[in-house]
Amino acid sequence: MPRPPNASRQTHVLLAALLERPRVWRHGYELAKQTGLKSGTLYPLLMRLCDQRLLDARWAESDQPGKPPRHLYRPTAAGLALAREQAESSVGISPKALKVGA
């Protein structure tokens, strides 16, 4: 039986991280630091969530002089709904257990 979309633990972790500050635009490195996901896992997830319109993405000028613009992400309303749904279904599981590499 095929697995439902966005059911992986990594997706749960990412959505949980995004749910913490849903209005804030976050960059990939920050999300990686927070979730413990490596870029090799994070980027395919970000791509897929953007494809499904669960994430909004935009370019923003860097706050560091001489650096290129940075790609930022924020959950959409649908993304937030999914993140909340997943957070409710994982009640009782400690955040440490949810964290990748824990």
Partner: protein
């Protein structure tokens, strides 16, 4: 000004090279990964990030292939072209090695061929005109270009493959006219090459016919019908 370390350079190279692997609909993500890596101050961390991003590019490439079905006509076509690239490169390398007087190299290459005998092959290589080497080299280039375009799903791949195949056939027919060729290679070997050409021409013809059938307007134009 801060000096660029080898780690930083390697990270940039890894990102640049892996960006080419991304499928067409994902190419914009290459700039995202590159920009993010440039914001990481620590070189070691930036390199780790870049290698992870490269892994993501590879994953996306494989995912795109899987979506398009690995055993599709397209992937079989790629395999077929790879065989032609390898085989034509092998032929020209073997002939060049024998012609330039590298018997060990020629014998090592000939080890892959059944019933290969250097003593019988060398006169054939020496009898080959230089133009034929150029033609064989061109065939390798055209097959490789066809492979490149096929991997990128570019329509030019088909035309390039047909050109390469036609030139390859011309080169082989020319070789058949060299008496030493008949001494160098067994009749079975010649038959196998002939059958391979005939089969490939048949597949190409069928593909062309199928393509025309799926585009009736184009077929009408090609057939000269109103």
């Amino acid at each position: 000004m801060r000096e660029t370390t080898w780690r930083r350079r390697f990270a940039e190279t890894a990102l640049r090279v892996s960006a080419r692997l991304l499928p067409r609909e994902r190419t914009s993500w290459a700039a995202v990964m590159r920009a993010e890596a440039q914001h990481i101050a620590d070189d070691r961390e930036a390199l780790r990030w870049a290698l992870g991003s490269a892994q993501a590019c590879v994953v996306e490439r494989f995912r795109a292939w899987r979506v398009q079905r690995l055993f599709s006509a397209h992937s079989l076509g790629i395999l077929w072209i790879v065989i032609f690239v390898v085989s034509s490169a092998f032929n020209v390398s073997l002939a060049l090695a024998a012609r330039l007087g590298y018997p060990r190299v020629a014998a090592a290459l000939g080890w892959w061929m059944k019933e290969f005998q250097y003593d019988r092959f060398a006169p054939f290589a020496n009898a080959m005109p230089l133009g034929l080497f150029v033609l064989m080299g061109l065939v390798v280039v055209l097959f490789s270009a066809s492979l490149y375009f096929n991997l990128r799903s570019h329509p030019a791949a088909f035309a390039l493959f047909c050109c390469a195949l036609a030139l390859s056939l011309a080169a082989w027919l020319f070789q058949l006219g060299i008496p030493a060729y008949l001494q160098a290679l067994s009749p079975q070997h010649r038959w196998r090459i002939g059958i391979c050409f005939a089969m490939t021409a048949g597949v190409l013809g069928a593909l062309r016919y199928a393509g025309a059938a799926s585009h009736p307007k184009k077929a009408r134009l090609q057939g000269g019908q109103p």
